[in-house]
């Protein structure tokens, strides 16, 4: 291990240039460093500012070519609101998978529970008409309760059993919603869910199919709140306990962490975020039916978390947004683009290949599968890794030796 760095040239020269480089760094670099430090001290504020900047920029970006050729601004805004649902799903799953290191494959079940909770709270089917805003909270709490119900018996078991139990749970929940038709209206689902109302606040009145703007703003708001909440959790005593359990459960337990309750907390916080997303999703679509919550939803969310970088909230959110837009826009436009090229049908051995007829949307789960495998093999820390993960997974013997040397010099 240390042999390689020992026989190599001592890294003194490299360290020297690094230090002088840091001293003569340009002004923008210093400024960036200051901003970084400020953001580090005021995390919640920087989350709000960052999301606000992003949400303000998005509606203008889609007006630029070539994006404006793909749809109207309104279509895009509606799409972004849907992307926001997946961002919520991904940052919630990130708590379970990324922070606590538990594999939850039935994540869509909590999404379904949240959505059906809203359907019971505000639809002609149940006869109730509870406003959207309190239902957000109710949906999150109900989903968290189911998370505890499922997690309490199974989190005592070894980690990979949890994966299979959640997978089974994720299968059962849509089956129950499908088969208990007296209570759920079966295959047809529950329709005519009430749309939220902003009570004329800020001049916003109509949430509607023709006006996606309020949905977009609402989801940005929910994401901002969830971001702040999760960032604070991550840096809290509980967040550190999650990491400790992920790294070594036995060691964590012997340091006095109650592993079952801590894991249960991660599991139910993940579930409640999913429930929150479910309520919003149901209110936007105004319909819930069992086929919206299959395993593909859980799988998509997992792909988003893994691609974005397990454990990094911003990275996971970015991963979710990118994956969703590729799925919703990218593949469709790719198909249209290939079709517009009018490539003639050519023969490939016995098969004749007509590129124009390929429906690229069919390939999305194949791509997710490939992405999962390749990421795990080549870049397990994700595209936007958290600092801790990167250092864990990529600390080569040389780097370790170097950091030791630096310590000695200092």
């Amino acid at each position: 291990m240390s042999g390689r760095s020992g026989t190599g040239t001592p890294p003194v020269a490299a360290g020297g240039t690094g230090r002088s480089g840091r001293a003569s760094s340009p002004v923008w670099r210093v400024a960036l460093g200051r901003v970084r430090a400020y953001m580090g001290r005021h995390q919640s504020l920087s989350i709000v500012i960052g999301l606000a900047l992003f949400a303000t920029a998005l509606p203008f970006i889609v007006l630029l070519p070539p994006l404006n050729g793909f749809g109207t601004q309104k279509d895009f805004i509606g799409g972004f609101a849907d992307a926001g649902v997946f961002v919520l799903l991904a940052i919630g799953l990130n708590v379970v998978v990324g922070f606590a290191g538990l594999l939850d494959l039935g994540y869509a079940a909590f999404f379904a529970i949240g959505a059906y909770t809203y359907a019971y709270g505000a639809s002609p089917f149940s006869g109730l008409d509870i406003p959207f805003w309190p239902m957000l909270l109710v949906g999150a709490i109900v989903a968290a309760m189911f998370g505890v119900l499922l997690g309490a018996p199974t989190l005592r078991l070894r980690g990979d059993y949890l994966a299979i139990v959640t997978l089974g749970f994720g299968e059962i929940v849509p089956v129950v919603f499908l088969n208990a038709d007296t209570y759920t209206n079966g295959t047809n689902g529950i329709t005519g869910l009430a749309q939220p109302s902003a009570y004329g606040l800020f001049g916003v009145n109509g949430f509607g199919f023709t006006n996606p703007w309020p949905y977009f703003l609402t989801v940005v708001l929910i994401i901002a709140v969830a971001f702040i909440f999760l960032y604070r959790l991550q840096d809290s005593r509980i967040g550190r306990a999650w990491v400790a359990i992920r790294e070594d459960e036995l060691a964590a337990a012997s340091m006095g962490i109650n592993t079952v309750t801590t894991k249960l907390l991660a599991f139910s916080i993940g579930a409640s975020t999913s429930g929150l997303a479910g309520v919003f999703y149901a209110s936007k679509l105004s319909i819930v039916s069992p086929d919206q919550f299959g395993f593909t939803v859980s799988f998509t969310a997992l792909a988003m978390v893994v691609l974005g970088g397990m454990g990094n909230i911003w990275g996971v959110a970015a991963g979710a947004f990118i994956v969703y837009e590729i799925q919703a826009q990218g593949l469709k436009q790719l198909g249209a683009f290939v079709q517009s090229l009018h490539i003639p049908t050519f023969a490939l051995g016995p098969m004749s290949v007509d590129l124009g007829s390929i429906n690229f949307i069919n390939f999305q789960y194949l791509l997710y599968g490939l992405a999962l495998v390749l990421m795990m093999l080549l870049r397990p820390e994700g595209l936007f890794p958290s600092r801790r993960r990167r250092s864990e997974l990529h600390e080569s013997p040389e780097e370790a030796a170097e950091s030791n040397e630096e310590l000695v010099q200092a």
Partner: protein, 353 residues
Amino acid sequence: MTGATARRRSLAVPWRAPLAAIVALAVAYFVILAGIVSDSSQQLTFTSAIPQAQAQFINAVTIGAIYALIALGYTMVYGIIELINFAHGEIFMCGSFVSWWLLTTLGFSGAITDPLLLVGVLLLAFAVSMVVMGIVGVVIERLAYRRLRNAPRLAPLITAIGVSFILQNIVFVVVSNSIVTTPQIIPNTVLTFGFFSISLINLFVIILAVGLMATLQLFISRTRLGRAMRSTAIDRDAAQLMGVDINTTIALTFFVGSALAGAAGVVQGLYFGITVFNIGFQAGLKAFTAAVLGGIGNTTGAALGGFVIGFLEVISSVWGQGRWSEAVVFGMLVLVLVFRPTGILGQQLADRA
């Protein structure tokens, strides 16, 4: 080798106890089935319901045999590298497509009446499907799992999920996105032995499954390679020090497990006459439940669990509640995991969470 006479520490518990358990369960099931059948239709008394119950009983054994064959692959892989190979159900699905492709390419569409030709075609179908799927399993292990053998636990699990989606969607995109009709080449003959009657396909599937499982037991308990597998499962490092080639042994485990799933795929086509790109997911989950039920890592237990799942499914469909069968199976999985994580046969597992 003189070592062959050494005391055998088997992965599997002795097979006599499970056999007794199977017989006891079978009798119990038969009575339950007859009870349900006689209850559900008013004209039938308990005794006159027996022929129908017998048909359902055989149906349950046949379905159980399919699950048992798949469950063996799960349990072998888990026993040796402690990985839930989520892609295993898809191997089963691919196996059914390989046999569909082979049989339709050869031009068969219905029953083959010439017995000699039938035997030949069946042998060919099973040989091709088992070898192809075995190789696919080895390739998956080599490309996806081997590099992650010492990675954090989450990594190989996520990879396995990814592989499962890759296989499923390759079939979806390349072969067919809807239900495919497979040739049922075994003629629909009913054999009657006194008061006991069984159709040829059921008899064939049961004999095949029992034969494959017995061969597997012999292979694991009596051969040199089987001994390597058992020792690797018990302690990989120690086995390596004793000269066992770990990589070959693990690859072999994947080959055997995947070949059995391939055989189950052929049976699926022959018995049900259909296959579709997404059958692997559900079948895989049920087979995994079977493996857990019997005690994971335990090959005899996996077979036993497969039959239990088959019976659960048939009982719920005879009851007229077939749509709940999945919920029943997974509910059972959760209950077993919570109250008896070591499975029915209760083998002690080291907790390496």
